[in-house]
Amino acid sequence: MDAIALFFVLGFVARLARSDLKLPAQLYEALSIYLLLAIGLKGGMELAKQAPMEVLPQALAVIALGVVIPLIAFPILYKLGRLDRFNAAAIAGHYGSVSVVTFAVAVDYLAARNLPYEAYLPLFLVLLEMPGIAIGVLLARLGGQWREIRWGTLLHEIFLGKSMVLLAGGLLIGWAAGPKGLEPLEPFFFDLFKGALCLFLLEMGLVAAAQAGALRSSGVFLAVFAIGMPIVSAVLGAVLGTAIGLSAGGTLLLATLAASASYIAAPAAMRIAIPEANPGLSITAALVITFPFNLLIGIPLYHRIVGLIHGS
């Protein structure tokens, strides 16, 4: 198993064994700020090398993916899973959005295997962060309470939420400064990245184990959904990545993004936009099941799927 996944396991096991290990709250915050900025900077730096007109159609296709996934997830949750509209919509929104850490682990997976990928892919991460959340909120209000949507608040929460500002801000700075300008920042933002990711995964393991108790009450359906949905999304992502001409590595990253579910940006936005939804359900699904599934099983599996679809 990869070293970084082992940190997740360490956290998970330590918490299950009732160790008092706990990362300081502000270290968790500092690490997530750092990871978001670093990913944005890296992507922006690479974006500076691209012709914008080449990337634009890909970008639009990727946004469409972010809209489609929650539209698929919602009926499954609502009809099949018999969840109420609010919970179904909130969970759909989490799966429409993406997990930054899962993305980082997939990048590491490629790097460890020397597989190339389009280095501007963090742009897609930024683009996929938002639409899922917006669609989730719309779905929650379909039942006639359209007027209740506070558009101002919602758009604000989505575009000016902490993770969006850091990712997009990093992207813009990286793009404006270019590889030359970022050189002196490399030791901090790039060389330390993987180590910082390990610490963050340790914390995620602790948190996931702490939430694991909620598994029992959330029912079998949700567990099945939290494994099945990522696979469906990954296939969609793999097809789309192939269609828009990404390399096999880039396609794997897009598939992983599609498969991942947000547990940082989405919970914060949903808590305010859909108060009726029980946050325990979406967090159990996204963090306790989907996240470790992607980490340990999903990414290699999607690698195979991409192999079949991309055919290279």
Binding site: A25, L206, V207, I264, A268
Partner: protein
Amino acid sequence: MPNTHKCKLVVLIAEKALEDKLAQDVMRLGAHGYTVADVRGRGSHGDRNGTWDADRSIRMEILCDVKTAVTITTHVEKAYFLHYAMVAFVADVGVLRPQKFSG
């Protein structure tokens, strides 16, 4: 105490996600200020031990007159009690400059 004047202390313990909203609410409803601390805890919504974003709680204290205290508690009861992890209580205290907290 001779040098103090009657005042209400409203305390709200709630999910951190509500901090900005509550701050706006209490000022709009007539409070002249508030004080916030980061806390963790347990209640009917289970363990909220503050290890990560979704698990954090805050404790907001508002010194105000009775009328504002009733307005604030009535408002939060209606707006948040159903869907959010939240507790509210009120105490009688004595303050030093009463005009600072009332009117």
